[in-house]
């Protein structure tokens, strides 16, 4: 057990949250980060779906890595990812129909999310199943927390609510003339917020700044 959570393994989990964040450092998976962050609930479900898919595709590919013929490895990876995504999509349609309607095509598009193929090629093909599983969860959370952060700002300023709870209405902000910011609902707002997050992260972490 202690070996399963060695400091090296824990690094696999924590590095993608900050120093190797898929969105803010590697700038992968931006498309869906812009599309599903208008409200927190779909963003949360999307984050959860990506965590599940990265973790299990990493696990499966890593388990099979010695048997996968090199020449068709990308095809095998795609088949595994696509099947997991289809299953996740079907489960969402069965149990959280409204959210799946809001996410529409973006669940299906997890297949094309660069984070997945990146982790499979760079990590799962060369590492043991347990490490790959942790790496998948770490990268999924790294993607997910940015999504939640962006959607928090966008929902709070754009719709005046947090996770669907109408905060601004409850504290009476509208009656004193407060108006929601319509820009926050538009896709460009996500780009600006991601930019601000990258800016804050770089100003706090010297190792991320490129040398001239």
């Amino acid at each position: 057990m202690s070996q399963m959570f060695s400091s090296k393994n824990l690094k696999l989990l924590t590095n993608p949250l900050n120093l190797e964040n898929p969105i803010t450092v590697q700038v992968l998976g931006i498309c869906s980060a812009l599309a599903v962050t208008v409200k927190m609930k779909p963003a949360f479900v999307m984050a959860l779906s990506v965590i599940i898919v990265t973790a299990f595709s990493n696990l499966i590919i890593s388990t099979l890595r010695k048997s996968i013929p090199v020449r068709i490895r990308i095809i095998v990876q795609l088949v595994v990812v696509a099947s997991l995504v289809i299953i996740v999509d079907q489960v969402l349609k069965a149990f959280v129909y409204d959210v799946s309607k809001q996410l529409s095509v973006f669940v299906g598009l997890i297949i094309t999310n660069c984070i997945l193929m990146g982790r499979l090629e760079a990590f799962a093909m060369a590492n043991k199943p347990w490490e790959s599983f942790i790496d998948g969860i770490g990268n999924g959370i790294g993607y997910g927390w940015i999504l939640i952060a962006v959607s928090f700002v966008r929902e709070f300023l754009g719709s005046g609510s947090v996770f669907g709870f109408p905060v601004m209405e409850k504290i009476g902000a509208y009656s004193i003339g407060y108006v929601n910011n319509g820009l926050m609902i538009m896709p460009p707002a996500a780009l600006i917020i991601v930019g601000v997050i990258i800016w804050i992260q770089r100003s706090r972490t010297k190792s991320l700044i490129e040398k001239e």
């Binding site: 090199v70 088949v79 289809i86 299953i87 079907q90 489960v91 069965a94 149990f95 129909y97 609902i185």
Partner: protein
């Protein structure tokens, strides 16, 4: 590692078979839940067209709430043919309007849902189906007993432009339809015009289009016209 071609063929065959059976299994297990969701979504759309079912998202059990409201208000359904006569032996709820519209007009069976309001009024709900800019748009139009005045509408779409055409499923767009009339003073079928600023309009038959959503607006206008036209014999027969 490099493997022989035979290995690659066997490997991919086994992989495809395993994956296919897994997916088939998942789809079979989840199907009843998904179909229930679709049924609830359809019932909710029908209820929305008569201004009912708005508490669905805050209800403890959404399915039970929607089923209950539907059973309470939509106690009666009809299937009518192209000449406006009621035909028996078909469940209106299960009729797929898309398929019916592909058929020859004489072979169509068209569903009508009847809503009994709390105040004793009766509304007739007609499904409408057509094309927007990017994909299908559909909805329900409910008429008062005169088979002319609109009591309420509900529209939805698959993938119209967010913020523009997609606005057809919002209340600000749908509310103005209430009270409009399908027939003009000389009993001619004119349906509803979704009119842009500056277009000639008649107050009783026009609503505002969506700025920037011209093609969706026009698509909706045609959707209402084409779909309600199929019901014309039924409307004329039952007109009061």
């Amino acid at each position: 590692m490099n493997k022989s071609n035979t290995y690659i063929f066997i490997y991919s065959t086994v992989m495809v078979v395993v994956v296919a059976s897994l997916l088939a299994m998942a789809s079979n297990v989840l199907k009843p839940f998904q179909e229930k969701n679709l049924e609830i979504a359809k019932k909710l759309e029908i209820l929305h067209s008569v201004d009912k079912g708005w508490d669905a998202s805050s209800a403890d059990s959404k399915n039970a709430y929607v089923d209950g409201e539907y059973a309470k208000y939509i106690a009666e359904t009809l299937v009518v043919n192209a000449s406006g006569d009621t035909i028996s032996g078909q469940d209106a709820f299960m009729v797929d309007l898309v398929k019916e519209m592909e058929k020859d007009s004489s072979a169509r069976s068209l569903p009508v849902f009847v809503c009994h309001q709390d105040n004793g009024g009766v509304n007739y709900i007609f499904p409408v189906q057509g094309k927007g800019l990017w994909g299908p748009i559909w909805g329900y139009v409910s008429l008062k007993e005169d088979m002319n005045t609109i009591a309420g509408v509900f529209f939805d779409h698959q993938g119209e432009t967010p913020g523009l055409g997609a606005e057809i499923n919002t209340l600000w767009f749908q509310k103005p339809f209430i009270g409009k009339k399908l027939f003009n003073a000389s009993s001619q079928f004119v349906a509803i015009k979704v009119a842009k600023t500056g277009e000639p309009r008649e107050a009783e038959h026009s609503v505002d289009a969506i700025s920037g959503g011209t093609i969706t607006s026009k698509g909706l206008q045609n959707t209402i016209f084409d779909s309600m036209q199929m019901y014309l014999p039924f409307l004329t027969k039952n007109k009061k």
